[in-house]
């Protein structure tokens, strides 16, 4: 009846996209991966994801920029991934992120976070 929870993952590091996609699909999510902020914003409008997993460091439009623009039209939950460590957490949350995960991270933590932010997925 209910469609699977859609997760949009934006990261310029191909290696990360590969295992995140495998992990999330294995956890029952519908996953789309993009490599830039611009693409992320575009898919956020068109593909209607339930949650956005956003890397901060990307060429061109970075994570902060993307988050700021996204918040101008959407309240969808956003989980920020960052290789900058904990110091990037305050700014991310300030800009409207719902959760913050520092790299390197346990893929299970990402799944738990997505699960928490998308309650309807828990009652399939």
């Amino acid at each position: 009846m209910t469609r699977p929870v859609r997760v949009l993952v934006a990261d310029d590091e191909p290696g990360i996209l590969v295992f995140v996609k495998i992990k999330l699909r294995g956890s029952g999510y519908e996953v789309m991966t993009v490599a830039s902020g611009t693409e992320a914003l575009e898919q956020a409008r068109t593909w209607a994801p339930d949650v956005l997993v956003l890397d901060l460091i990307m060429p061109g439009k970075d994570g902060y920029q993307t988050l700021k623009e996204l918040r101008s039209f959407s309240h969808m939950p956003v989980i920020v991934l960052s290789a900058w460590g904990e110091e990037a957490r305050p700014k991310s949350l300030e800009l409207g992120a719902n959760d913050f995960i520092a790299k390197p991270f346990d893929p299970d933590d990402l799944v738990a976070s997505i699960h928490r932010l998308t309650p309807r997925a828990s009652t399939p």
Partner: protein, 600 residues
């Protein structure tokens, strides 16, 4: 002289007095003689008893007179003696005359007696005449003596007058001379004293007015000297004090130059917050001229300082008299900032503040922090892939397709290699910066190095298009093969990372001016001129935004620079925003025999 004259005069007076006495005696003699003559005549005429007695009395008085009188002048005495000689004769003649008369009266031979009487009378008269003659002669002699004495007296008086005149003149001259001498001594004394020699004394012994004046003057000079001596003492003291002052000033200058030469800023703030002392360094730290600080309050110089932590600490120090140490970022009125390590200590005048400029250290620390953040970021990304991939493989092994498993393992492997590269770069940097970088030189074929770097990059960035451009024959270089490959790998990695997938990355090598030129050209976004300047600086990375931008260039390029320079070559970038970048470096064919360069 005057005494001699006086004595002379005295004797003269004596002579005159004697002469007068003698004159009186002579007159007496003459009178007595005349009396005798008269008595004889009277007796002869009358033969009375009375003339006879008168005669004898007169004759006796004259005899005693001549016997009594002593004439000092011999000639006169001779005359007197002569008179005395007559005296006896006259007496005997008169007595004979008397007896003859008595015999006549008694009636004896009157005629004969008369005749004898006449004879006796004649003899008597003759005798008396002789005496008279003698007396007259004596008178003339005495007169003569008086006259002569009177002449002597006149001469003496004239001599006395002359002597007196001469003496007076001499006395006058001497007195005048004494006065002149005294005056000269006085004048010289005043001159000498006036010239400043207060030790001089006129020392005039004279008891006159001038002597008194001189003594008064000497006394005054003495007083003056005493005062002057005390003044000289004072002056000496002043001189000593001045010397001490000079010494003190020298010492002070020494302190000042020492304090001014100090690396630390020293300043003293008064209890009223006025700057009491500021050394050069402190003025520099305050970015104000010393004159602009001294005497003014901190609040005047730095408006709004009351709300800073520094002010709070200073206040606490002033109030509690306790020392504080702190690191403080100071914001200048123009908005500039500086970091200072401060020691605040209470002093009687207020607060003493020692400041050390740690802005550079702080910025180095910041750069180091950023570098560590950058390195940690560079490590985190591959670690994430390795750990995440392995985690997924482990947890979902059964659910994964063979293709997915291969993909995860391949990624983990590549990222692990990338980690090795990063760690390798860090080690190289650490070696280079601590002078432990030793090249292991050998004969290097640049074509082989290029192939190795490109093969690795091809595996990591499969979607990029790597192109090698090499001339038909390329000379070998004497270099460290492993280090050159690291340089090239770093450059290629950067090129691939910062250029779009599918775009070409061109790697070329050629010879130029006796050295090898190697370059990597990409078609990425390009780098601005400002960024280019900072590209190879230590701990520097491209300012593509703060946390959240793509990092990872700093470490690699810095290592490239160190390794190329260790070979004696140069590295630089030519780039234009929007047109891609070309990183190039040179390697001399033969190493420059400079251990400094070799062992960087």
């Amino acid at each position: 002289m005057a005494l001699v004259i006086g004595v002379g005069l005295f004797f003269s007076y004596k002579v005159v007095a004697d002469a007068q006495e003698k004159d009186r005696v002579v007159q007496q003699i003459m009178y007595s003689t005349n009396q005798l003559n008269n008595m004889v005549a009277a007796y002869v005429l009358h033969h009375e008893e009375r003339p006879k007695l008168q005669f004898l009395a007169e004759q006796e008085s004259m005899g005693s007179l001549t016997a009594r009188v002593r004439f000092p002048v011999q000639e006169q005495q001779l005359v007197v003696d002569h008179i005395r000689g007559h005296d006896e004769t006259i007496r005997s003649l008169f007595l004979k005359l008397v007896s003859s008369q008595e015999r006549i009266e008694s009636g004896q031979d009157a005629a004969l007696l008369r005749e004898a009487e006449e004879l006796l009378r004649g003899q008597l008269i003759i005798e008396i005449s002789d005496v008279l003659g003698d007396a007259t002669r004596l008178e003339s002699l005495v007169d003569e003596e008086i006259t002569s004495t009177q002449r002597t007296v006149v001469v003496l008086v004239i001599a006395l007058i002359l002597t007196a005149a001469v003496s007076l003149t001499m006395v006058l001259i001497l007195t005048m001379r004494s006065i002149t001498t005294s005056l000269a001594a006085l004048r010289r004394g005043t001159e000498v004293v006036g010239a400043g020699n207060l030790g001089h004394r006129i020392g005039l012994a004279a008891r006159d007015e001038l002597g008194l004046l001189a003594r008064s003057f000497d006394h005054m000079t003495e007083r003056l000297q005493a005062m002057t001596v005390s003044r000289e003492d004072l002056q000496q003291e002043v001189v000593e004090r001045k010397q001490a002052e000079v010494a003190l000033r020298q010492q002070e200058n020494l302190y000042h130059s020492t304090l001014d030469g100090m690396l630390e800023g020293c300043q003293i703030l008064g209890l009223d917050w006025r700057y009491l002392y500021v050394n050069d360094t402190a003025a520099r730290h305050g970015r104000r001229a010393r004159e602009d600080l001294l005497g003014r309050t901190m609040m005047e110089v730095y408006p709004g300082i009351e709300s800073t932590e520094l002010f709070v600490q200073l206040q606490r120090c002033m109030r509690d008299r306790t020392s504080h140490h702190m690191e403080n970022e100071f914001t200048y009125p123009d908005g500039g900032k500086g970091w200072f390590q401060l020691s605040i200590t209470p002093v009687p005048e207020g607060v003493f503040m020692l400041s050390l400029d740690i802005t550079e250290r702080k910025s180095m620390e910041k750069l180091k922090d950023e570098f560590i953040a950058m390195v940690s970021h560079e490590l985190r990304t591959p670690l994430t892939v390795v750990l995440g991939g392995l985690h997924t493989l482990q947890d979902h092994s059964s659910q994964l397709t063979a293709e997915e498993r291969d993909s995860l393992l391949r990624l983990a492997y590549l990222e692990a290699e990338s980690l090795t590269d990063i760690v390798g770069n860090l080690l190289e940097l650490s070696r280079a910066d601590s002078g432990r970088l030793i090249l292991e030189r050998g004969v290097v074929n640049m074509g082989v190095v290029l192939d190795g770097a490109l093969r690795k990059a091809g595996a990591q960035y499969p979607r990029h298009h790597f192109v090698a451009e090499l001339p038909a024959s390329l000379p070998e270089v004497h270099a460290d093969c492993v280090r050159l490959e690291r340089v090239l790998s770093n450059l290629v990695d950067n090129a691939a990372k910062f250029s779009p997938e599918g775009s070409p990355v061109r790697v070329f090598a050629t010879t130029r001016d006796g050295e090898m030129l190697v370059g990597v050209a990409d078609q990425g976004d390009g780098i601005s001129a400002a960024d280019q300047a900072r590209l190879f600086a230590p701990f520097e990375r491209l300012g593509r935004g703060s946390a959240g931008s793509t990092g990872g260039t700093g470490l690699g390029l810095l290592v490239c620079k160190r390794l190329v320079e260790a070979h004696g070559g140069r590295i630089w970038v030519e780039s234009e925003v929007g047109k891609g970048s070309v990183f190039q470096f040179t390697v001399p064919f033969w190493p420059i025999t400079d251990s400094r360069v070799v062992e960087r």
